[in-house]
Amino acid sequence: MKLLIVFFFFLMTNAKLLSQKAENFEIDFEPTFLSTQLHLNQYYKTNQDDSIQFTSFKFYISNLALVNENEVVWKLNPGFYLIDLEDSNSFKIKSVIPENMIYNQITFDLGIDSLTNVSGALGGALDPTQGMYWTWQSGYINLKLEGNCNQSLQSNNEFIFHLGGYQSPFNAIQKISLQTKKQSTYQIGIELNNWISEVDFHQAKSIMSPRKEAIEMAVKATKMFVLK
């Protein structure tokens, strides 16, 4: 009997959700370099006429939400997506949202929040076998970009940016907000040039631990997201 009452109570409180019709929601990420499609291990010419190649590019998107007038109206689950240039299936995020939702912003985090960072072993996109977890000091790598550029003074002209860190004062997670009109599919460009055109490869040192330089670099990286 008690169980039945609990069940009815559950139904009542969730009636609103159950009665709502759902509609599809999809994000397609489109990685580009100077507007041409981005591929790993291919040489590109920068605007400064330098030659650049990317050998690894992956990052976490989390906490995806729809926002109306600065108020979150819907959170998308599950919360963590690993976008990996090696796997084009990872460029699509599909979900369902309630019908007739009103919103004017899509927001998400570039990286993994601090609570998740201290929650122990996790699976799926967050499994440490994804190569996005630091082993010698706990914490997720929010964003990984590796490659080489003729301007780089490091051996083999390499550059390595592993950006992460969840503890103050080296918390590297970044919030991204994109103004939008409502539609069912969004194309979000990842224009890598918007980020790396701000990097002085002649000066830049590799970043592979939580520190000030990682945060500065992560701020620059936020500029690559453009709603099409």
Binding site: G120, A121, P128, T129, T135, Q137
Partner: protein, 335 residues
């Protein structure tokens, strides 16, 4: 009324299960563990899987080194006779491998607290070039190819697939069962044994001079402290500061537990002392003063040689033979 009976029945059933599941317990009068067991419920099968992983050299690049290589049960899961940890191809690390016990009460791991969760701890030695020098991705590939593990994972998780998450959680499960709380000291606290006069005097001196950092019942306050060791100019280890990049943490290391100290030599983060009397002499005569020195070491500690012997006598009461020689925690032999 019927509801009450139902609840009572449920509670009885539950407490029965808890007793049956004798894998982990909180000793009487101990604080609450910090490990979140809800996210990794202990089962016999998972602990067994973790125990197999712990003793398996498959975890290292050339299949020669297991966790137990540097954490052997007879040394309270530390590394006997090696001041610095000794890994693959005879490579030598920079720190003394710590004991493993009562880990459910620890918030962070390693001498500098670099690891924030027990689940993530195993990743560090697996990938360290002077330890196992392997990649977790490759460990998982090897596990998925090994017949023995198919049934171990199946029994533990309901299918035979090894993943990073499952593997790390299983290793955690085994490490969580390493509870040491059956030393003579514990029996004295439970009024089941009595200290000798010497041990009693040693306990008093311990409480006065040592207990602020080596807090009972864990015998560590789990904090990071600078205990005034002279900096080894070759290792030049700044300790906790490496992690926080804060000068206030310079030369601070995690306070180790003193449980089973009789068997966990050598001592200190770099294993510089082989004998307990060297440790005593350090605290009375060799403290190096600096801005980060632990508060309680700022005033000199004066102890007669008899008093030092008494303290050592007390420290030996922290030996828990039941823990050290528990076959359930040892190498998993096939039945």
């Amino acid at each position: 009324m019927r509801y009450l009976l139902f609840c009572l029945g449920f509670w009885m059933l539950f407490s029965f299960f808890e007793k049956e599941n004798n894998l982990f317990y909180v000793p009487r009068n101990w604080p609450k563990p910090v490990y979140n067991f809800k996210n990794n419920l202990l089962t016999e099968q998972k602990v067994l899987l973790g125990r197999n992983l712990f003793y398996d050299p498959l975890l290292s690049r050339d299949n020669t080194i297991s966790c137990a290589s540097c954490h052997s049960p007879f040394n309270a899961f530390a590394h006997v006779d090696h001041n610095l940890s000794h890994g693959i191809e005879d490579r030598i690390g920079t720190r003394n491998s710590p004991t493993l016990m009562n880990l459910a009460w620890h918030q962070s791991f390693m001498w500098d607290g670099a690891i924030n969760h027990l689940d993530m701890q195993a990743l560090a030695p697996i990938s360290h070039p002077a330890e196992m020098d392997e990649k977790i991705e490759n460990v998982i590939l090897k596990l998925n190819r090994t017949k023995k593990y198919k049934s171990l994972y199946f029994n533990a998780f309901g299918d035979s697939i090894a993943t990073g998450e499952r593997t790390l959680k299983a290793i955690s499960q085994f490490m969580l069962t390493l509870v040491s709380a059956n030393s003579k000291y514990d029996l004295v606290k439970q009024h089941k044994a009595k200290f000798t006069l010497q041990e009693k005097n040693g306990y008093k001196l311990f409480q006065k001079h040592c207990a602020s950092c080596h807090q009972e019942p864990l015998f560590t306050n789990l904090k990071f402290e600078n205990n005034g060791l002279k900096v080894d100019s070759k290792l030049n280890d700044i300790g906790r500061m490496k992690i926080t990049q804060n000068a206030k943490d310079s030369l601070k290391f995690k306070v180790p537990t003193l449980r089973n100290i009789e068997f966990s030599y050598p001592y200190m983060h770099d294993g510089r002392f082989k004998k307990l009397n060297q440790v005593m002499n350090h605290y009375t005569n060799e403290i190096q003063h600096s801005s980060t020195l632990a508060e309680n070491l700022r005033k000199p500690i004066a102890l007669t040689s008899n008093e030092k012997v008494d303290i050592i006598a007390f420290l030996l009461t922290l030996t828990d033979k039941e823990f050290l020689f528990n076959p359930k925690l040892g190498f998993p032999r096939a039945k």
